[in-house]
């Protein structure tokens, strides 16, 4: 009874997280490999194309089936979506497909195949048929291939994207690079700060803790706004530089809406997540250790490197991993202060969701990012323990 009851109180939250997070994520994964738009809009064509040899133009019956279904799709307003799916496989095919059903009435060709070719010569080529057949597949690897800069050709072979369109691998590498840089900067700046807090008198320690916690509690948008105000060309920092004569008034530095903006703002925003775990570890390092090291003849540098620092490593690991996990999925700050050069993978996911409407690709990029974060999360749990995560 006791055991049953103890666990049952957690069930509502478990169920809640499953329904509001896991199920939506599962549907995201599904979206990255599954798309039934074309198969549903052109079911008979999909069926007959499976039997098509692929080496010569389909039979006249296939053309007739397609004509029938394209007209039906136009009536149900599915045609645009079908055309855009096929266009992703064979660019340029969008207009071929969307104009075809409107023009049947105007041709007087002897059979369906001739009609199609009269409307658009592309219907006499194998490429569009291959693309159409591929688009009727409900399961596809296309999105994942594109997310790593490869593409699925209409005939089913896999090729690297042309150089000018290889963006995603670069962006994943950039995201990793920025996360490493932000983690390193947070460590460099945060370590002495945590040390100062852990070794100050209790009055000062309290004041310094408040100084770290105020930004921690302050809205992310407020903090990002403050960086725009400080870093922009007519901003506070440039004013100071001009006043001090470091830069000329007509040659103000560009520090925001580029990578500098992303790095500076992300470091400041994530700094408390590094300081707080470090601080909590450092307050528990016995003071006598460094004293003992000095009395044994170590100079302050040796005492720090050989005795103090190794003892603070659990804090470094906890803070570093947390900052890294948070920065790898960062979205808001790069979106507002990153310009075009300071965008990370999350920003591109949002772009495909909201602007290009290529949801399958947005989902595939999300899944890759998610797998990376899950690996890091498991590492965090193994080595640090999620239940030891502290707040504030």
């Amino acid at each position: 009874m006791g055991k049953l009851k103890a666990s049952s109180l957690a069930l509502p939250l478990i169920a809640f997280v499953v329904v509001t997070l896991l199920v939506p994520i599962f549907s995201l994964v599904r979206l990255s490999v599954y798309d039934s738009t074309v198969a549903e809009a052109l079911p008979k064509t999909a069926e007959v194309l499976q039997a098509w040899s692929g080496t010569e133009l389909p039979s006249i019956e296939v053309y007739e089936t397609l004509a029938e279904e394209l007209i039906a799709a136009q009536e149900t307003r599915e045609l645009g979506r079908v055309a855009s799916r096929v266009n992703r496989i064979l660019s340029g095919s969008r207009s071929t497909i969307s104009k075809t059903p409107r023009r049947f009435a105007r041709t007087d060709a002897p059979d369906a195949r001739e009609e199609f070719i009269e409307i658009d010569e592309d219907w006499g080529e194998l490429a569009i048929w291959h693309a159409l057949r591929q688009a009727t597949d409900t399961f596809t690897s296309r999105n994942f291939l594109q997310a790593v800069d490869f593409r699925l050709m209409p005939d089913g072979s896999i090729e690297r994207m042309p150089e000018s369109q290889q963006v995603y691998v670069t962006l994943f590498i950039r995201t990793l690079g920025v996360s490493i840089a932000v983690t390193a900067l947070c460590f460099l700046i945060g370590y002495p700060m945590a040390y100062a807090m852990a070794h100050a008198s209790s009055g000062w320690a309290r004041i310094l803790l408040v100084l770290v916690l105020i930004p921690f509690w302050t809205s992310l948008l407020v903090r990002t706004t403050s960086w725009i105000v400080i870093l922009q060309q007519q901003g506070v920092l440039n004013d100071i530089f001009v006043f001090l004569g470091i830069v000329a008034d007509d040659n103000r530095l560009t520090m925001v809406h580029n990578m500098t903006g992303t790095l500076v703002a992300m470091t400041q925003v994530l700094l408390p997540f590094m300081i707080l775990p470090l601080y909590s570890v450092m307050t528990n390092i016995p003071r006598d250790l460094t004293k003992a090291a000095s009395s044994l003849g170590a100079n302050p540098f040796q005492a720090f490197v050989r005795v103090y620092f190794p003892n603070s490593l659990p804090g470094v690991a906890a803070g570093g991993l947390l900052v890294f996990i948070l920065s790898i999925g960062y979205y808001i700050t790069p979106a507002l202060v990153g310009g075009s050069k300071g965008q990370l993978i999350s920003n591109l996911i949002a772009y495909h969701l909201q602007t290009s409407l290529n949801w399958g690709l947005a989902a595939a990029l999300s899944v890759i990012l998610l797998v990376g974060v899950i690996v890091l999360y498991v590492v965090y749990d193994r080595f640090i323990g999620i239940d030891r995560m502290k707040l504030g």
Binding site: L13, V23, L28, Q234, Q268, A350, D381, M389
Partner: protein, 278 residues
Amino acid sequence: MNTLFWRTVKGAVGVFTAFGFLFLIGPLFVIVPLSFNAEPYFTFRPEMLMLDPEAFSLRWYENLFNDEEWHRALFNSFFIGICATILATTLGTLAAISLNQSNFPARRTVMALLISPMVTPIVIVGVSVFFFYSQPFIGLAQTYLGIILSHAMLGAPFVVITVTATLAGFNQTLMHAASSLGANAWTRFRRVQLPLISPGVITGGLFAFATSFDEVVVVLFMGGLEQRTLPRQMWSGIREEINPTILAVATLLIIFAVLVLFTVEWLRARTAKQLQPQ
């Protein structure tokens, strides 16, 4: 060895550390005076630095208080925030109490699941709930309910963590004592356990509220015009036409953050005192 050398090193580290604190907190203090700027600029004009009263004004605050859109945003933020907090705090507290039992099965895995919303990249949360909730048979996109559910999910881990931490110091013999005096499970929870862990519950609730109050991505992807919250409104302000009204909002949010911080610290001190062995 040369003490002067080590003193210099210490001094240099000290200065570096001071700059660290300035880097962390300084940007916030730049915003406050600029929100009183009489001109629509984001920079300190010479008149301001000379503390000329003409250079300061409350016009951006006036703008803010007279603007329907900001009113609506403020209402939405509190409405969504309070609903999400109630949901997250209730579910999170129950879960934490149950996770605190030593015989809880697969505790570590369950904990990892319950904390996972905290580390899932917010874009992935946003994209997933958008796709999922906009399916016709669910239809929660562009509704208050959809946003409240998502925000409660994002805030619940904080409640689980703070309540679990408070429970670690909770003396279980108190429950046995209450039980021997004839209290049933509900009475024991309400009269003994809840009052003692309430600072942890309230702290968790404040974290959950702050999470919702600051959340913009889910609202951005899934919310409609009607559900615009304060951060969503700020987002448009920053992206479209940045004017000092944003700084007035920012200043008010900083004050709000400071109030929340002191409440949380006060509660923490109270818990520490309460749980001290007599």
